[in-house]
Symmetry: D2
Subunit: 400 residues, 4 copies
């Protein structure tokens, strides 16, 4: 097993945590009821509002994985037996549906083929068919981590509006947050579900709900039992930067630093960087003669790329060869895609050379694992990245 040098963590999350974030977390825990903590708490809560682009909404931070934030979104807004419309974009959408069932909801699932994002027309039709307005929420995964297909949330919003339906719009942004744009207020998203360990560049351990005024109104009558996840318990202490129970203090140190990094680069620049690295990846995959799992260019994910293995070749054996030979972790195919696809994460604290290193590792792994492909895929990325670099022109000094 090759363990030399720096590991390339190219699963689609957790991502490579930057040194600044790790070091920010590496400070002694402080009193979560004291004045210094209040400042950090407020910075974290306010900063996250800027990340999801809400001024009207509020952010809730849980000491929990993203899975907990899914549960929080549902138990704070729903009552037993409520119907929720869920779009089957892939494995994670189906896990969310399973959770909804387990806690007593009735998911109505719009089937998908795991190779596209959510179809707004299907959503619109389903809502129009719901004459009794029984559907309480539309649940969509913005970026389906299992497939590399990203749904267009702006279009989902339009579909709901076109159907003139009062359902809440709940969006899982776990692998899109801070990598792909989320305009919560503009798009009328009622609950954003997010996690720390992807575009936010933190280790896993905290997760988020961002909540619209409409969702807060619905919350008052929501009948599912809840305690740990209760928004209302959070809101009082949050107003002063505190939390109702012990928060994950050191993760919050890291969150404040991560937000600072994102804003130093500029959120729009961060998104553009992800778009460009994703496009370089797809050009490489095509140059190898391999197939992208995502079939709709408008749904290509900027966070990750899922690649279909040629018939007769096992994606996991290939991934194992890459890990063994080149000290790089790639993402596996999940549930029905197991063994049939591998996933390249290109999100978070990531740049051109990390990407070309990554693609090189894939290309060499294909060779070692005997997977048929055309050489030169990595070269396609080099060509594209050199051409499109935003820094091609020398920096002019004042004198010039």
């Amino acid at each position: 097993m090759n363990t030399s040098g720096r590991h390339f963590l190219q699963i689609p999350g957790p991502t490579n945590v930057p040194d600044r974030v790790l070091r920010a977390m590496d400070f002694p825990t402080i009193d979560h009821r004291g004045p210094r903590f209040a400042e950090i708490g407020q910075q974290a809560l306010e900063g996250m509002k800027r990340i999801v682009k809400t001024e009207k909404g509020e952010v809730i931070i849980y000491p929990a994985s993203g899975t907990g934030a899914w549960e929080a979104a549902l138990v704070n807004t729903m009552s037993p037996g409520d119907k929720v419309l869920m779009y089957e974009t892939g494995h994670f959408a189906m896990l969310w549906r399973k959770m909804a069932e387990r806690i007593g909801l009735q998911p109505i699932v719009l089937e998908g083929d795991w190779r596209h994002g959510a179809d707004p027309n299907a959503i619109e039709q389903a809502l129009r068919a719901d004459a009794g307005k029984d559907i309480k929420a539309v649940c969509v995964v913005q970026n389906e981590t299992s497939t590399g297909c990203a749904s267009r949330i702006d279009e989902v919003r339009k579909a709901i509006d076109a159907a003139d339906h009062p359902a809440l719009l709940m969006v899982d942004t776990i692998s899109s947050l801070a990598s792909i744009d989320m305009r919560m207020d503009e798009w009328g998203v009622d609950v954003v579900v997010g996690g720390s360990q992807k575009g936010l560049m933190l280790p896993p351990g905290i997760s988020f709900n961002a909540v619209s005024p409409k969702a807060l109104e619905v919350n008052k009558a929501a009948g599912l039992p809840r305690s740990y996840w209760d928004w209302e318990d959070m809101r009082g202490p949050n107003a002063k930067g505190f939390f109702p129970y012990t928060p994950a203090t050191n993760m919050l140190y890291g969150l404040v630093e991560a937000i600072a990094m994102l804003e130093e680069e500029g959120l729009e620049n961060v998104f553009a960087r992800h778009d460009r690295l994703a496009e370089a990846t797809r050009r490489t995959v095509r140059a190898w003669g391999l197939e992208l799992l995502c079939q709709e260019p408008r749904h290509y994910s900027s966070s990750l790329t899922a690649v279909v293995m040629p018939e007769g070749h096992d994606a996991d054996a290939f991934r194992d060869a890459v890990l063994r030979n080149f000290n790089m972790s790639l993402g596996a195919g999940l549930s029905k895609l197991a063994g049939r696809v591998f996933r390249i994460g290109h999100l978070g604290d990531f740049n051109e050379l990390s990407l070309t290193g990554t693609l090189s590792g894939v290309e060499m792994g294909l060779a070692i694992a005997g997977v048929p492909h055309n050489k030169g895929g990595t070269q396609a990325a080099l060509d594209y990245l050199a051409e499109t670099s935003p820094y091609r022109e020398p920096i002019k000094t004042a004198a010039e």
Copy 2:
């Protein structure tokens, strides 16, 4: 505000995180589905079994605060409307009770005066009175963080046995874990609830259930809805060191290191150290002429000491003086004790000189805040600690 030098974090948790643990956490996050992770996961799960002294039971680790582990203990074992016997040792016992109500249980509360641990006789009587065996669990806080009173879990066990009652025994060890002995198997504890940020010397962010075979049996029929907290989902992947959703990887790095530190010192030595530092603290409080909140010596806590403020003096004004003048955080009185007590945490990564520094800060704070007291309390700690040091004799070399 004095911010020079090292902050003394002497609330009863989160505690001063040792450098070894912080540094262990300060490594890049790795693939939570990869082989290196599996080793860490197994080390963490197996290590925690040794900490709670169970061979028969299993440990579940949540990316969550201790509050989440409370919820997990209940939703995994109870059905809607179930009765649970809860002992009012103080603020945290009452929060647990409130949670039980919110998720649909019927707590039967044995009232307490917040100045003693749980009374085994009262428990025995309540169970004997439960002819229909409707009480499904006895819930006790081993160390009540709000009062500094520790309940005797061995005696609670005997009380349940004496009543010949089948109820599960659930014990909150959040502020006792790794500071005060927990013999899960020997004492027949069915569910241990624990957190990371106290005796385990970690930041907050992960919490624990340790679960007996009996609790696992009960779990099968438990009817409360659950998803994030579900034990059964955890057990499958846990067997190989994995988790069903993304775990708090970097916290697990820290946990493995913390367990190593505890075992290097020796768990029994860790407990003895806590006992001795707690006794030094109580001698100091008495020498000041102040009153201990805990009235039963057999229930004195080795994790923290709560001190009653003299009439007419506000504990929070005093704590503020200590923070402002001496850069030390003390614990506040909670709910009905607000303003009336302050709490000194002396648990976790802590030693004699950190304690005498702490007690000095309290004594100087009393002077500055104008709280009547006898000088010389800190001196009492010095006398006791010097006398009882386990290292008084010079180390003999082989030649001698």
Copy 3:
């Protein structure tokens, strides 16, 4: 051996490195010829000028121990056979003298009793007696780390002026830098010799010369061979923030952070804090009935206190008892003071409670080692520190 909790490093340097400095150092090394480095280099060099209070002088930073900075001061200003007037304040002054001899100089030593700082009158007389102006430099240790006696550099300056002598004034500030005031320009110091590991709160590894225009002039004709230590080689690249050979990059990260911390607190506040903690220490020593090594109150050091052991008691056996029982390192007596004194460091990143913890450890160690003393010394520090706290008054809010 007690290894629990945080070690108290109370030797008079290296000192307890604050987390902010350690974390600042814990970043990847960067290109020492690149633009980011230049900024750091300039911040370090400019910041150090503020620390020694020079606008006219320049600062040189060596990747070396303080001992190297001694050598640098001499080889950059002297020629073989030159005479230097050195004052025997203690062990370190005598090491500097030994170095001078080894590199070919002729030290003229003014004898001292190791219980006082330098006597300006003796210096004046020696200079007056030097009719031929053969003495090229007066070398004084500002704070003699072996004795806890601090020389008055302002008075030494006056003595040189009174003798109307052209000798350079060279001052070793290794254990006074950033703990005791150094007004390089105001006091006409020509070469300041400093190190990183004391008041600057860094690990050991870099050291300093601060150099006056007069010293730079003298440097041109100085005939001792030199290469690594050569000032002139440094000055060219330094002007742009660079160095002639690879600098200790990560130490420079820490230096920039340490300077930021000192300036956030305010240099004068830092000095006042050291003065106050030193006075508390002396009151404690007197209350124990022990003898201070330093016999002249005007020469008391604010960095450390050396304590004379009672006849018949071995200081090193005592120090060993303190280390063994209380996980604290104290400074040993050096050369002719070996076994007869111990030294308490109270400099750097240090506050009231760290000091009272330290003094408690000494007091308990005296008891365990059977050293005769009066109890209550630590109490004297508590009384003094509570009375003199600068933060006694509650912070008034705007509304009040």
Copy 4:
């Protein structure tokens, strides 16, 4: 300026410091006279002997840059006016020569063309011509960092033996230590000069002499003045793991960790890894149609590769384009090579994907800077690295 993601530090040192080393250094400084330090000191000194493969020799560790270790080697063995034979392999050999002159030695320089390692025949002839045995030392740079040419130290040894000359053999290993084999005892090297910031994977700040018994003998009569660098002062305290003045404690923590990492991988595997990555780099350079600076394959360096810029193109403008566009630092041409070559560092904590990322950055930089080259150079590295991976075969489990 592109500052996203992880910086690629591909100068030929300082190198990318691995997280394990940075974290090992990120611990509080301890008492350099205490028992814990002694263990660390001994581990560092003993470990370094294994790295340079000496059992008969001793290692000296300086808190200093590599430049200091050069000076140490000379002042400990030479007397004023002594002749030393120095081979002009490039810029650094010439800096060493300049230093020798400045401290009063008479270097005899064997001229080189900066495109080959040292020529053993020339050395042999020069020694044979020295009938009076006036040459006291032969000084060779094992890996000339400015040119990427590595001298064959085994052959230099044979040349000295063939001439039957008693001169000491001194070898600068600054950019070869722990990257290219050094068999001190086997090759009869008398003084090894090394630094921390290259193959040892540490930040800059400590440097080394490894010293043969013969060199120690010569040291006794060596007449150059010395103090900071004196071997004899070091040897006494070193025997117990201590140092005569304050060592760079935290760097030593890192050194112990770095040695552990090297020995976990296995020194011979480390060398093989460097050889293979260097060969991949050269294949890439040739595929681009660019010229290697080093003209003798037997002298190719495994630490770095220097590439000649095509006529009319400025290497520094190219390097600037790479830094600006791809956040990677490359090494500049030095002195007479300024602007004419760039240098790729591929040493230290480095692996295949870091290398392909690096080469990609060079290739894209060539395109952006308009430097004529053939595409596909990076592809050549991919082909070679995939073919030669030592981990091509799946790991067989016991069952198979």
